[in-house]
């Protein structure tokens, strides 16, 4: 078991290291100019050189992503609960949730920017990232709340459960795997939303990682671009793993998807 886990970590790390070595060697041997493809060592140097500015950019992107994600989870779950309580509300609002989802965020971004004003770029970024992250939570939770075993619903009816008891003791736990699945999708989307929104917003007070990439690109500081890109990927991976861990911890005891079968 521990051996197997060790291997599942070791192998990708080895592959990564090997790829970096090949990359480094290819760039050096081929004399590739660093504004086309910088070697990993050069990227590393750029990362160290711009460390504090990159870190503050990372912090801004992280903050927007996490805040948008948290609001998406709260909003999505709350709205799904509302839908589950009232078919009428669902009929009335669900189409608009879909419209919000299918309209490309890049296309809404300028409008949102105008509405919140250019001195509130961070708020605009937050709204845009939220829009992208919100729908998977809403649709997954809605599905989860509806997928409760009918016999269990009847059981609760039989024992005179109130709406609140039914929701809290039956529907929400039953929907938990769906909610966590939605969170895994929307965590990544929140990051994408934050970055795309920042690209669209352009300059302004927002100086997250996306803006660093644009800025470095304009100055042809390709190693810095790569360094920012590297941090973005790292952030995405961290979010994904954190949510996977959360899912595992929450479901490992009872849900089919997380149960460990080989004892």
């Amino acid at each position: 078991m521990t051996g197997a886990r060790f291997v599942t970590i070791l192998i990708p790390v080895m592959v990564g290291l090997a790829a970096l070595l090949v990359w480094e060697a290819a760039v050096r041997l081929g004399d590739v100019p660093k504004f086309v493809l910088p070697a990993p060592s050069v990227i590393g140097a750029a990362l160290l050189e711009n460390f504090s500015s990159l870190m503050s950019a990372l912090w801004i992107t992280l903050r927007i992503t996490l805040l948008a994600f948290a609001l998406a989870v709260i909003g999505g779950v709350a709205l799904a609960i509302l839908f589950s309580q009232s078919r009428l509300v669902e009929l009335a609002l669900f189409p608009y949730a879909i419209i919000l989802q299918v309209t490309p965020v890049v296309a809404i971004a300028p409008l949102i920017l105008i509405w919140v004003g250019f001195d509130n770029v961070n708020l605009a970024l937050l709204i845009l990232a939220w829009i992208v992250a919100f729908f998977p939570i809403l649709s997954n939770t809605t599905l989860g709340l509806r997928s409760v075993d009918h016999n269990l619903m009847d059981l609760f009816t039989l024992y005179g459960a109130s709406r609140w008891q039914r929701l809290w003791s039956l529907q929400l736990p039953a929907a938990l795997p769906y909610i966590l699945g939605g969170m895994k999708i929307s965590g990544g989307l929140a990051l994408i939303g934050a970055v795309v929104a920042e690209f669209v917003a352009g300059s302004g007070s927002g100086t997250g990682l996306a803006w660093r990439i644009i800025e470095a690109g304009n100055r042809l500081q390709v190693p810095t671009m790569f360094a920012a890109l590297f941090l973005l990927s790292l952030l995405g991976i961290a979010i994904f793993f954190a949510l996977t861990l959360l899912e595992h911890l929450a479901l490992r005891r009872w849900h089919e998807s997380a149960v460990n079968r080989d004892f």
């Binding site: 269990l152 009847d154 059981l155 609760f156 039989l158 024992y159 039956l170 736990p173 009872w254 149960v259």
Partner: protein, 262 residues
């Protein structure tokens, strides 16, 4: 042969449950249940047998109030309220994220009983079905038969005066099933509940019940066609299972079931 014997009905002022002209149509070409007239005496053990799809589950759900009849009425008497019912579904129907203890505690929890106050009752109910030593296990850590017993313990924990069971042991092996049959009977004798028990096993219905309602034979689906009495005394153990009377009753029920299939 189609009415309650004098011994059983005497001393009962009113039947506990009365169904008059009950019908249920799901919207298909023919109704799932038609024209069921039935009275059930307090404290009796009644089985409902019939071929698959004849409307047994539908009738039980109508009785439990989980379905509303398209026609006719279901009437409980003697102060029976909906939450005096215990219901055991065909499969265990447990909360997969909750332990055996929490599953059995559920009905009490929904009635607002605090966990500490309920502990003794829950453990007693688990003990009755022989699961007193595994209260912390999750459903997936229990065998199929154990899950079914948790489900029965959950129905028992509120000590419902009326227990409705929909083929509770159908998925179990013969051996476990006979054991659970015996457990159920001794509980019934001890506590004096009214039990309505759906099964498709002729043998099980004869072994358990005082009265057997045969559904969906003569007239096609949805009706009660025969109302048979099994006048063997309780407790019924192995001797009854091996007695000629037992086989006679089985033959009678089988014949009633076959009657319609010309």
């Amino acid at each position: 042969m189609t009415d309650l014997s004098p011994e059983l009905s005497s001393g009962l002022d009113t039947p506990l449950l009365t169904l008059s002209g009950v019908a249920k149509n799901y919207g298909g070409a023919r109704p799932a249940v038609t024209d069921v007239n039935l009275t059930v005496a307090r404290g009796s053990f009644v089985s409902l047998v019939g071929p698959s799809g004849c409307g047994k589950s539908t009738l039980l759900r109508l009785i439990a109030g989980l379905l509303t009849p398209s026609d006719g009425g279901v009437h409980w008497d003697g102060g029976v309220r909906p939450d005096d019912l215990g219901f055991v579904f065909q499969d265990a129907t447990l909360l997969p994220w909750a332990s055996a203890f929490e599953n059995v505690y559920l009905p009490l929890k929904l009635k607002g009983v605090a966990a500490d106050d309920a502990r003794d009752r829950v453990m007693a109910a688990l003990g009755r079905v022989g699961l007193g030593d595994v209260p912390h296990r999750l459903p997936r850590e229990l065998s199929g038969g154990m899950r079914m017993r948790v489900s029965i313990a959950r129905a028992l924990v509120t000590e419902p005066p009326v227990l409705l069971m929909d083929e509770p042991f159908a998925a179990l092996d013969e051996f476990t099933r006979e054991k659970l049959d015996d457990d159920l009977l001794s509980l019934w004798e001890e506590l004096g509940w009214t039990v309505i028990f759906v099964t498709h096993s002729v043998y099980e219905s004869v072994y358990l019940s005082e009265r057997i309602l045969v559904m969906g034979s003569h007239t096609g689906s949805g009706r009660i066609d025969e109302d048979l009495l099994v006048d063997a005394p309780y407790p019924r153990g192995l001797p009854f299972r091996q007695s000629p009377a037992y086989f006679d009753h089985c033959k009678a029920v089988s014949a009633a079931l076959r009657d319609g299939e010309v």
